[in-house]
Symmetry: C2
Subunit: 258 residues, 2 copies
Amino acid sequence: MNTEEEALNFVKYGHKQYLPHVAIDCVIFGYYDQQLKILLLRVKGHNSWALPGGFIQRREPLTQAAYRILQERTNLKDLFLQQFHTFGDSPFRVKETSAKEFADKFGLEVEENSWLLERTLSIGYFALVDYSKVTVTTDFFTDAYQWCDVSELPDLLFEHNDVVEKALLTLRLQIYHQPIGYNLLPEKFTLPEIHVLYETILGKELDRRNFPKKLLALGLIKKLNEQRPIGAHRSPFLYQFDKENYDKALQEGIVHAY
Amino acid sequence: MNTEEEALNFVKYGHKQYLPHVAIDCVIFGYYDQQLKILLLRVKGHNSWALPGGFIQRREPLTQAAYRILQERTNLKDLFLQQFHTFGDSPFRVKETSAKEFADKFGLEVEENSWLLERTLSIGYFALVDYSKVTVTTDFFTDAYQWCDVSELPDLLFEHNDVVEKALLTLRLQIYHQPIGYNLLPEKFTLPEIHVLYETILGKELDRRNFPKKLLALGLIKKLNEQRPIGAHRSPFLYQFDKENYDKALQEGIVHAY
DNA sequence: ACAAAAGTGTTGTCTTTACACCCATGG
DNA sequence: CCATGGGTGTAAAGACAACACTTTTGT
């Protein structure tokens, strides 16, 4: 959807191809520069940022739609993607939009009865991606992107700030019973790297000596016989996820006792 | 919606009042006879059972719709209700229904272009209710109800078996970081009662002596100076949830360490 | 007095936390 | 040789798991 013609076509006839009343929004977490970032798109002709999102094709399974939308933006295939909440309470998600409001927001004239003006619930997914492998694609409605630190988010369009917050909460809870990191880190990583990643996600300090003990005890990572030169300091060893144990933990959960 | 006329009206004009393409399904957990039960409704003129559900009014916030639907069925106001997943992947949730299929299932003739035949995603909520306070109301589409043990579910309509399974999984995970029980038990309960409840939900045995220690240590329950006669045996003491601590734990989560 | 269920405390084991010194590397 | 960051082990405290006998009550 890159030309104005395609966009107008989408506005006018999109409801034939897509399900109205429901959309998907994606919180795409990437990890870079020791910070947890999320991908934001700038809405064309406007100074506001929003989460990437899209609609579900009429006969497309929901999960597949989420993967497609994500892939359209990031050109990534292999990633961790998870539904976390469906939003339908905020004022914006309760009422219809007027054509005027829509024109103000997106700079596009639509007819008063356009399907895009109807009330639309949003199904939230979050993804964990390897920042370095992502190439972002924008489309007609968006003219820029940025990776924004989660602690420095601007005011986003719609209720997207709430969506991000809920995604973060879910991620933080989840890290307690699922391994996380496989999709955020390169294949080989150092202990300090994964350590800072966990600290960043949880938003608190973790003991530098106890933390790797835990991961090793759980069998989630294994030490490689390689080191990575990092400049003027001692070279840290490289580690790798033990994919077998990792996947097992993903399925069974790391259950904490009662 | 109790008469055929109302039902036909709903089929024909429901889309003016309700959002099409999205519905809510409720897994209502009740606790009774030392078993975790869920509420099932029998679809009229049919031998199949289904979860209670309904549609969202055009300008009704999502959460409010879930509470309304639940209340219409159980006549309960104060309860724990939580969204857990939105379903849109199973074959039934991907394609449209034919008028014939609909007639077979619900014994009601609809026009081929009825809004009810369109693809409909389902937003799943689960509720924890005090079984003894529930009075179930059926409507035109349903002619019976039962509280069914979760381990003895029959084949349900649509993909509702999957929905129940996911709800159970969510509940079991949740019990590890949120207190559960306030809405499943009467105000005053005995230790054996809450003990069996937890065992039932988790599907495993919990030590009879360690279990209350934990709850008391967390400050979630407090002992009352009352006992309940239970026939030919020693009278157990009554306990109550410490609402203040309970609510705090609900918000902050009982976090297990890393 | 007997049967059935409730009440209660201790100990060993495991898990978690806290903590500081030496080593490698490049400039 | 210095500055910076990486690597590593131990001990104390707390949490968890396992376990059995006594009390109450109604019949």
